[in-house]
Amino acid sequence: MNSLPQLITKMTIIQKKICMIGDFSVGKTSLVARFVRQSFSDKYLTTVGVKIDTKLINITDDTQVKLILWDIAGSDALNTTTASYLRGAAGYLLVADGTRRPTWDSALNLQQAVSSQIGNKPFVLLLNKADLQEQWEIKPSLVEPQTQQGWKLLPTSAKTGMGVEEAFSLLAKQILEIAT
């Protein structure tokens, strides 16, 4: 009888695999570090291959979901190695660096490549490094066509934490088809 609550939690947790996609140095690893460990480092250590992390989040009062986060090495296009990491993903965060305009184009290319690889999966596009407004290169007019198309865009900062929780929970809700 004593072990019943334990059993229930073990049985009801859903797991979802989520991939971090985007050009190099846009902040994928930093966003995961902020989200999972509430930490940030200015030092850049590029990811080679993929690094897997998990985080349990509450979506609603009675829904918990364990996110299996695949932080994939950044690149401007999908190669066979990175494509192999996508299998089984329920959705993905597409990340661009607001201070580098070309990473926006990479994000658009990657979105196409990813959806042709794993089909139409939910995703949220993050404009990261929102704390560096004075270096901002991605103008509202640039993102207009995508927002018109109904893409979910979110400014984030792994440094300050702005928008980070929202980004992951927004994606999780889309995956679980919970109205937002």
Binding site: K10, Q15, K16, K17, F24, S25, Y44, L45, T46, V48, G49, V50, K51, I52, T54, K66, I68, A73, G74, T81, S84, Y85, R87, G88, A89, A90, R100, P102
Partner: protein, 373 residues
Amino acid sequence: MAIPLSITKYIRSMWMAETVITYLQVDKQGNLKSWGGHPRHYGLSNLIADRPATEQLYFLEGLLTAPHSQKLEFVGLATDRYAHVSIIPTTEGTWVLLFDATAAHDQKQKMQQQVNELSLLTYRQSQLLQGLEATRKSLEEEKQKLEEVIESKTNYISTLIKTMQMPMECVDGYHQLLNKVELIEARTTDYLNVVKNNTNQLLSDINHVLDETKSEAGQVALYISHCEIKVLLENLVSIFQSVAQAKGLLFSLEIKENVPPRVMLDELRFQQILINLITNGLKFTPKGFVTVTMSWEREQLHFVVADSGSGISSEAQQKIFMPSPPNTTDKSMGLAISQHFVKLMGGQLTVESSPKMGSMFKGFVVAPLPLGP
């Protein structure tokens, strides 16, 4: 469950290459069956048999349903260790093999790090250059605009000066006529009126030009030369005497004995100062006098222009030397520019006045004696 021959061979070849191998076996229902090698190496501890594999090995989430083999390179699990992962479906379930690739990962990471950092640096540099280029362009445009403004100003001024030439010639002509004609009352008055009108026109034109050049006055250069001060003053008297007479005013000039015949100063600017002061005096004096007094002391030429006119309230005196906004006519003209010129010439210009008691403009400019004979 027997290990298929192909997998045995594969494992053996890796073994021979001294690769650290870990294996995990999952049954058709997705439960972990068995394992071997070094799962702890990757932080995979507390493994429990016959429980769902994806609950214990998170990275397998979504991967066990594939009908064919998959290879994932450089997968980082909970620790700093990286593995190449092979997921091989068999008739009885799935084999998951982990080959340690930490050393290869770290080596590749160092190389990739350099490549990425270089690429970031190159990008920042090109942004910087673009910024510089943009600044250069906007400066160039600014310069272009300024040059256009200066040119149009110059054009305007030269047009104005041309319009001044006509009345000036007229004054000259009538003056010559006056000299020849016997002083017959009615005619003389007519001519004098023409002279007066033209003189007024001329003076207001001059003031327009002065106003126009005000903004550039900061750049005015002085042209200092030998100045025959008495000749200059007598010329002024000849210009203003007729105007004063027509108004019934007494206009007089007093040159103190200590004034040398020649001094060094910018003749044209000094003349402009006096013209402005005398014009104002005549303009604001309905009856009585306007007098100009000159003296010289310690290399300074002192002048006083006094009148018996309407005077200036102390409030107005505060503002009298300030530049007037454009298109304000019928005010004392050219005082700001006079003040500016006086200062440029190393002197001072002040006013003493009270309403109905007339005004006295006092000033001096630096005017040394010429060197040599």
